[in-house]
């Protein structure tokens, strides 16, 4: 069975948990004491991932340390439709958004780690870079809406959407509001409405999709 070295508050770890849940893939999880223990920076953990980052995925002898690679692996195994359309332009666009998700992590993600887990750094710059990335995402999703599209690439959700979703949905944890990005907000709602969607602290499901709880 695939094993995921995991941390509940990590946007990148959630990315993999969400993808696996949407695909119906079961994984073993090993919780790593990221904060405050910094276990991911320990000598022991470096044997697994010298870069000292989470998540880490292990399947047999294969060790993956990049979350976008893990998305590709899970989709290839359990749901090839999630890799996106196969034509040249769509394939390139999927790669674009996988790389772009790294910019989201380096901006919105760092702003959140600063505000939540006491990371040191320039919070003003991280938030500015986060807004710059959100402007690009908003423009792209708005153009998709003009053509009747609901997802970043193609007619169905793909690993491109899942790669970008967590740090966007958690942006307010880092002091970056989504109020100015209507197409982004509606896109995050569509992801939260997907069948088999799972939550993490800071990203809740759409309560309106289930009936009001019955009072005993």
């Amino acid at each position: 069975m695939i094993k995921l070295y995991d941390y509940v508050l990590s946007a990148s770890c959630y990315k993999i948990r969400l993808m696996a849940a949407l695909l119906g893939v079961k994984m073993d999880h090993e919780a790593v004491d990221f904060h405050p223990g910094r276990a991911h920076k320990s000598v022991a953990f470096a044997q697994l991932n010298p870069a000292g980052t989470l998540p880490v995925m292990v399947d047999g002898a294969m060790i993956l340390t990049e979350s976008t690679a893990m998305l590709v692996y899970l989709a290839k195994l359990a749901g090839p439709d999630w890799l996106g359309p196969v034509d040249a332009k769509a394939a390139a666009q999927v790669q674009h958004w996988l790389a772009f998700s790294g910019r989201l992590a380096a901006s919105l993600g760092m702003a959140r780690l600063h505000d939540m887990l006491l990371y040191q750094g320039d919070i003003v710059v991280w938030r500015e870079q986060g807004h710059a990335a959100l402007r690009e995402l908003e423009a792209a999703l708005t153009e998709r809406r003009f053509a009747g599209g609901e997802w970043l690439v193609g007619d169905t959700p793909s690993i491109a959407d899942i790669a970008c979703f967590p740090n966007v949905a958690l942006s307010q944890d880092g002091g970056v509001s989504l109020d100015a990005y209507p197409s982004v907000r509606l896109w995050t709602r569509r992801i939260r409405a997907l069948d088999r969607f799972i939550e993490m602290p800071g990203i809740h499901r759409l309560h309106e999709l289930s009936p009001a709880p019955k009072v005993a």
């Binding site: 153009e143 809406r145 109020d179 100015a180 990005y181 209507p182 907000r185 509606l186 309106e208 009072v215």
Partner: protein, 208 residues
Amino acid sequence: MTPRWIATGLSQDLPKAVVMAGHWQGHDLAVWRSATGRLQAWNDRCPHRGMRLSHGFVRGETLACIYHGWVYGADGGCKHIPAHPALTPPATITVASFACVEQDGVIWVAPADMAGAPPVLSDLQPLRSISLTCDVAAVLAAEPALQGQDILRATVQIGEQGQQVCLVAQEGPAGLTLHALCGVGADKVAVSRWVEDLRRRAEMKVAA
């Protein structure tokens, strides 16, 4: 402040059963559309603990607070408190309402006692809402063809063609928002990219 209609969003960005944040001259609003399509704008503050109601969720014809689930009905009155299911909430627990109408694909808000209708923007189609870190003066400086103060209009050259563009300005706590409309049948992608270019030029004027 003189009561007047302010554009706070585009109809296309508020589907049924969705709530979003809005703004009217210093007042934060929760603007929401019920499951049957009824549009409303309320003070963005739950009377219980002050949570933003725009973080809440729409269920049927009611808006619920995300914090403790207090449920508010069409008149803004609290209908249900989950922690006290047998209680009929007193009428004093009510969220203040604003006037809210949509016209030409634009959502307009004003104080509840506002008389008259919002400005008419006929022969246009809604394009997108875009936020800027500069003020209206910088936008006018960046594109001298634009005429107006709150509703900026121009015919501008986009690609090969002259295109009608209309930008409805809204000042909010996070800066300026322009609700952009364009001519019916216009190439929306081309006009959207022109608006992005205008934003870069306007913000650059401020930075320079």
